[in-house]
Symmetry: C2
Subunit: 328 residues, 2 copies
DNA sequence: CTGAAAGCGCTTACAG
DNA sequence: CTGAAAGCGCTTACAG
């Protein structure tokens, strides 16, 4: 297939290139007869418009860029799916990049994404870097930060309060009579916020600061190892909050294996409400977060803005909810 | 930020646009002094090349398009990650689209992806539709089909034999003395191939055909429901093969809940070797598939081909392995 | 080693 | 309702 260009379709239909272009983008502006003739030529020749050329000429790329910590199995793929579902009907396409949880590569990735002239940008997380904030703010396209909240978004932020989630877990565990706490999670912004909210609520209640266990890449095994380390260091811990469900499930299963009674001897709480959380016995108490909804809402905001809607709120708090099951 | 164009950078550096372009793409062709002057201008002005214009002029988009059943939590995201890891060093970007397991939307999605002039295309699955096969074949870019095998790929296929995997499970279960079999899974090509391989091996051994349970969207709950239906219909089933681990885990947990002894009363086998398969007790016997490696290899083939390497094999069988744990 | 000209394949803005 | 001209921001291919 030597690629068909718009001029060739036009020649076949006996019209000009602009008319073909109109039939494809705004058919109502063309008489039915012309339209039919052009459409027939398009179909016969298998013409597929070159979107690169269209983007360059129209200054509209039709691309939404999304930057995620990892394009792998994880709760973020639900957010990606939400964005995809929201923008697909509008004919927008998704350009995806992952920074592998490595903050250094963010600047480079962002520049490459921006070079592609996206009509909007979605990122998991809130950008702290001043220079990058300035660069993104100057882009004059919708820039949606997600999965956290901030009073000062670059443009718009869609998420929930990770600190409040941590506090809600602390209050729940305190109400259940727990007194010796631990927190296990990684070093990223969101886990840190959850840990801080958790610790602050505990401090307010006058109990000892939680033991902090650091985890590596998010996998079930990391949750298991964190549990082992925590119990080795402080055997009397009676409540453990994991930054995410994957870790919590690993910890819960390890308890089953070691014969540690949950929730009697130790309460376990996660965050994310993965499908599996409710399938285990005991079921995992967890913070349910609107992962899909965050993406969906981000996508909807983008579609609205691109079709000329005025900016809505700059801060969209989608909240979270504590789902109490048998593990606490 | 009013966008900076290459002409403006050139003016500031006192050179022509082509020289700026060279500094960015082939710096060794420019004298060190000129290079430094241009680079300084680029940095000072925060110039980011317009990749749409570059793509149009160079007829190289730098984009790899990937079509997946769903951009959600699933084993395919490992494949996406593999592709991403392999192509990122080469500066290629990933345009992703999902067809939500709905075959009708594939043609439309494919045309939009192709309109973006990708330098290569990866798809999960093997394309059967004749017209689409012809269209993709005529594209003159690498087209990699994955997750299955076929003697007649459009271009190159990277995967493993789903039928052989099903047969391997059957043989393992037969060797363990099982005699009354069931299979649970969806209607997609891969699940179907697994079911067929499983049934064929059973037929060869002279045992009764397996009971077939159909499942919906892949979730733990679907595995649980399939188990319930199977045992209601045929209480004497002693071996159950699920098309994927998510379903199998759901079934395994349901057995625990209902007090059905695994593997004594019923053996359960999955496919995928998700992290959680080894964390459960009993551990889940499963077929380990090279999900990440499939993507990685597809990406490597693309990178090699785009840099002028001759075609390697058109059929890359990455195999699978049976991981026997306690559930069978 | 550097640059002027032409062109990539569309759409915009203006006419008629 | 339809089209001729100009231009989107780069790179290719050729000169010098």
């Amino acid at each position: 297939m030597t690629k068909v260009r718009i001029e060739e379709v036009a020649a076949r239909a006996g019209v000009s290139a602009i008319t073909v272009s109109r039939v494809l983008r705004a058919p109502e502006k063309v008489t039915p007869e012309t339209r039919a003739r052009v459409q027939a030529a398009v179909d016969a020749m298998g013409y597929i418009p070159n979107l690169m050329a269209r983007s360059l000429a129209s200054r509209r790329s039709g691309i939404v860029a999304i930057l995620v910590p990892t394009v792998g199995n994880s709760i973020f793929s639900e957010t990606v799916r939400g964005v995809s579902d929201a923008i697909a009907p509008g004919g927008l396409q998704l350009l995806i990049a992952d920074f592998g949880y490595s903050d250094e590569s963010i600047a480079t990735l962002l520049r490459t994404l921006i070079g592609r002239q996206p009509d909007a940008l979605v990122m998991v997380g809130v950008m702290r870097d001043k220079a990058l904030r300035r660069m993104l703010g100057a882009l004059s396209i919708p820039v949606i930060e997600t999965w956290e909240l901030t009073e000062d978004p670059i443009d718009t932020v869609v998420g929930f309060s990770n600190a409040a989630a941590g506090a809600a877990v602390a209050e729940h565990l305190l109400a259940g009579g727990r007194r010796r706490f631990a927190f296990a999670g990684g070093r990223d912004q969101r886990a840190t916020a959850r840990a801080e909210g958790f610790a602050a609520a505990l401090a307010k209640a006058g109990v000892a600061a939680p033991l902090r266990a650091w985890t590596g890449p998010i996998r079930f095994a990391e949750g298991r190892l964190a549990l082992d380390r925590i119990l080795a260091e402080a055997p009397d811990i009676d409540a453990l909050f994991y930054a995410t469900d994957v870790l919590a499930v690993g910890g819960l299963l390890e308890c089953q294996r070691r014969g540690i009674a949950v929730p009697e001897r130790i309460a376990i709480v996660g965050l994310g409400d993965l499908d599996i959380a409710s399938e285990l016995s005991p079921g995992l108490t967890t913070i349910q977060v609107p992962a899909y909804e965050i993406g969906r809402r981000a996508g909807e905001i983008i579609v609205a803005r691109l079709s000329g809607a005025a900016d809505e709120e700059r801060l969209v708090d989608l909240g979270f909810s504590l789902v109490v099951r048998e593990s606490s």
